[in-house]
Symmetry: C2
Subunit: 579 residues, 2 copies
């Protein structure tokens, strides 16, 4: 079954040849240790995560009088993961971590996401939670709440949304009232309802650490409007005393996919208020949460890419095995694998472009995470590419899973095969941690507001184009890429001048054009590493995929840009009654 | 709940204003009777089909020692449908039918498909089966097997695929051995395994009539190769004597959606051979089956369009109700319905274009069915548009269901709402009755082989363009449409000259370009009926949708045509080892 996970050759190519992992590792990790991590990850993902993939879909979490119960295999897999120290992979040694570069840690984690996304999600939530605490929490808070998560004994959540406040956090109504102070800092009692809490309750870990967005309420004073008044609180399921905190599960959401991850409606403070400790100072909740959110968005993108990649592998394996028909002109004789049909190969090329392109894009961002601490350019570029990676991987990863069903024909529509579940699981990714529409507003309204990020990106693209033009094989693609980015940059300028309604009408179209432009650039950049080995199946495959992307995908950009160039604002202009 | 079904105003506009149903009805049906049929359909769909939509998804059909059992509500709904004579809607009075034009019958049936596609599918299969028998069967066969289906007492199936023969029917291995003759014609004993048989067994009707594709086996002679040797046999579950025929359920397929429709692996002839009667003469199986298949493809398209249309209605209702955030610049104050956000309106415009465009396209084909008997041009055009309608409605209906989830955000991903099920249900439609790839080969390799169909289509498009140019409001769209069809026609010529590999590499791209070109033409054609009422919410809405389609969708055609124009054959050229 591990043939469906991420090919080691793919990871090696991306990490060492394309992204220069050696440069990131410094003295921390040598090639041998990195190889050992990747070997271990592939094995554990195949042995402990993959086997309950379908079971966790069939046997949903349930709630009874004692709490929420998840499939025991999920807990067993996560305990193995914890015992091998993998929760701690990307944390520094002083926090008990392995100190792996983010790039390597993400490459390792991609295998678990590919094998079983809803089991791996507990890791994603927990490490993001612990990293936020490690960044903004007091030493006592880190010791109390972060370290047990880095050990994988406690799991974490993030509690942002409320039934009336989904994408718009300014409407958060959860309130925190001061309740003294202790060694863990200023203590509050929280009251409110939180919705869509992944991992909100379960029986998989000793404790659950909630990071809760709420507004401080002071007697006789109105809380601040909008997002400015938001603070972040650490609210454990079990208090340090061992007593149960005032956090109750009000219900479970029953999802179409991604089912192994429990998803809860939580009531904080049905009684005297849930006890929590503020992180940092009041009013810092949103920037703190965005630190976690940005990591979570890269994590969502990685999961979407991994699901897409696995879908591609399933489709390819099936197309090699399933025999049906004969290519036109082949006459009678035995039927051939469907891979012999040009239409099937065309679907697989599309899937390859999307799956490998998405994985590469996300790992490129992970590389930027490693650089961002020391390198302001990398940080700016990471901020720009985060909504791109989140959206492109989510949407085109899902598109791969759709293609994988199509390649399987009727079989792909049955639950006897994995591809239908991959498609259902992946459908969450364009929604959670900020929908595509939210990412588009982040890109057009925030990340492109000044030109710094785009300038850095275009410099890198220009470097790729220059290298392509110095060779001979890929100059046509380089020209097309150059032209495409001139148009995208013009469209960015047009939208910047278009006013808020024109911007809001076209932000998603710009995001799509931008995404394809970035992925096209990266395909060319990787293809340049392969021009000297066109006959090698792996490297030659990159050249074919790059050619395919430039022939069949890059022309789509025109359709997204044209309405922007024409000044269309139809989404803002159409009155609601005409819908 | 009936607000989510197809708006009566939509059907009235399409039937009477756009498609001139009055001209089809002749003396058979007056407006009052047609209205009564549509009223009745909407009511019965809402009262008997819609209520068990989710139940039929949750409670799957199961098999035990006595056969396959479906949810009882499905049987109850279909009995009501039969009691009202609706199985007979489109059959002539001499067969006990109502003699409704296909256009009206399809408009009626669309409500049932929207309400509950997997319950309505039994009707689709049964009427297609009965129509094939009525066309090719002997009078005795019609009386014995078609009439009980027209009454809705017996249900029908079509048994084409086998485990090793899905898209490629030339590999069918089921064999029929002569076994004498009786009043029902030449009798055979059939042996073989049939896969993907929708409605293959259940407890919903008194009997099940299988139409089975098989090859006649004569002692000492090899069966004919390929599809030429195929014949069609009528094989009932219960023989006219009342005895059980030798047809056994070997298993049920467990699907991702569309679950109320049982889907079986059937073994014919585990014992002495299943008794069946040949329809017509040996070797006529494929043309006979294609008569049924073409009707089935239009039926699939109608179901896909209806599911998409319902998804649009759900999304629109939710966007009007769900409050979240404020448009940029609106400051504080209460949150607004998400419909106020340009990005959401943009999604809904896309959904509207797709949903209404797909429904219109399929009903246009139903109109051609009515004309095709007397009018060779209509028959040729219907043949050309069948793969377009099948594919476009399937793929863009599904796209609407995807958008509907996105508009609902996290709620759309839960099973508390209908949109996730609509998406799962609709995913079957690009697969069954010929995948998108098969439709593409049908279009490029068969329907466009001579230029007759395309010439008829282009004449109709030219008429629309001429009318647009005679007015003032929509001349820009008319010019774009004209240009687009010149390019499509050129691409058809290019592919005709490209050889089988080039054709097979680009057939799907051509299908997509062709589909958008047809839908764009029809949007313009309908918009021309609305230019005098731009302020009317319904007619003005058509103008906005038309504008949107020309601004944001028609430019996509370029990306599909460009590789064809450039002579790309990458799907055929890429060697399998590079995938």
């Amino acid at each position: 079954m591990s043939e469906y996970l991420i090919a080691r050759e793919e990871l090696d190519f991306l990490l060492w040849d394309w992204l220069d992992l050696a440069g990131d590792c410094g003295d921390a990790v040598d090639r041998e240790s990195a190889d050992a991590i990747l070997d271990l990850s592939a094995r554990l993902a195949a042995d402990a995560f993959l086997p309950h993939y379908k079971t966790a879909d069939r046997v949903e979490p349930f709630q009874d009088g004692t709490g929420v119960h998840a499939l025991p295999e999920i807990g067993a897999a996560l305990r193995e993961y914890a015992e091998l120290g993998l929760f701690a992979a990307s944390f520094p040694p002083e926090l008990g971590g392995l100190g792996l570069p983010s790039l390597l840690a993400n490459a390792s984690f991609a295998q678990f996401l590919a094998a079983n996304v809803s089991t791996a999600a507990y890791v994603m939530l927990t490490t993001a939670n612990a990293r936020l605490l490690a960044t903004f929490g007091s030493p006592a808070q880190i010791t109390q709440f972060a370290l047990p998560q880095i050990e994988g004994r406690w799991f974490g959540t993030m509690c942002l949304s409320e039934p009336q406040a989904g994408s718009n956090l300014g409407d958060v109504a959860t309130r925190a009232v001061a309740d003294g102070a202790d060694a863990l800092g200023d203590r509050y009692r929280l009251t409110g309802n939180k919705m869509w809490i992944s991992g909100g309750d379960h029986d998989l870990s000793e404790n659950i650490v909630h990071l809760v967005l709420a507004k401080v309420a002071e007697p006789g004073r109105a809380t601040e409007e909008g997002t400015k008044g938001l603070s972040l609180f650490v609210v454990p399921k079990f208090l340090p005393t061992g007593a149960r905190n005032d956090v109750a599960v009000a219900g479970l959401n029953h999802k179409m996919g991604y089912r192994g991850t429990t998803n809860c409606l939580l009531n904080f403070g049905e009684g005297e208020g849930a006890l929590g400790w503020i992180i940092g100072t009041p009013g810092q909740g949103l920037p703190q949460m965005f630190k976690m959110m940005n990591e979570a968005r890269i994590g969502v993108a990685l999961g979407a890419a991994a699901l897409g990649y696995r879908g591609y592998r399933h489709a390819l394996a099936y197309a090699r095995e399933r025999r049906q028909g004969r290519p036109s002109g082949a006459g009678a004789g035995p039927s051939r694998p469907i891979l012999a049909h040009p239409d099937v190969r065309d679907m697989l090329l599309t899937a390859k472009c999307y799956a490998e392109g998405a994985l590469a894009l996300v790992l490129y961002c992970a590389k930027l995470v490693d650089r961002a601490e020391q390198d302001a350019e990398a940080a700016t570029l990471l901020a720009l590419l985060t909504p791109i990676a989140k959206t492109w991987a989510s949407e085109y990863g899902l598109a791969v899973n759709d293609i994988a069903i199509q390649v399987h024909g009727g079989y792909g529509y049955t639950r006897d095969f994995d591809v239908e579940q991959l498609w259902r699981d992946n459908r969450l990714n364009p929604i959670h941690e900020g929908t595509t529409g939210i990412q588009a507003l982040d890109l057009a309204g925030r990340k492109l507001r000044d030109g710094a990020g785009l300038a850095i990106l275009r410099t890198r693209i220009a470097e790729t184009i220059a290298r392509a033009e110095a060779g001979a094989a890929l100059t046509g693609h380089a020209e097309a890429l150059d032209l495409c980015w001139r148009r995208i940059a013009d469209a960015v300028g047009t939208l910047r001048d278009a006013g808020s309604q024109g911007m809001a009408s076209n932000a998603t179209a710009l995001l799509r054009a931008f995404g394809h432009g970035v992925v096209g650039w990266q395909w060319l950049d990787r293809a340049l590493l392969c021009t000297d080995a066109p006959e090698d199946p792996f490297r030659g495959g990159k050249l074919w995929a790059c050619r395919y992307f430039f022939e069949r995908e890059m022309p789509r950009i025109d359709a997204w840009l044209r309405p922007i160039e024409a000044g269309s604002d139809i989404g803002a202009a159409v009155p609601a009654e005409f819908l």
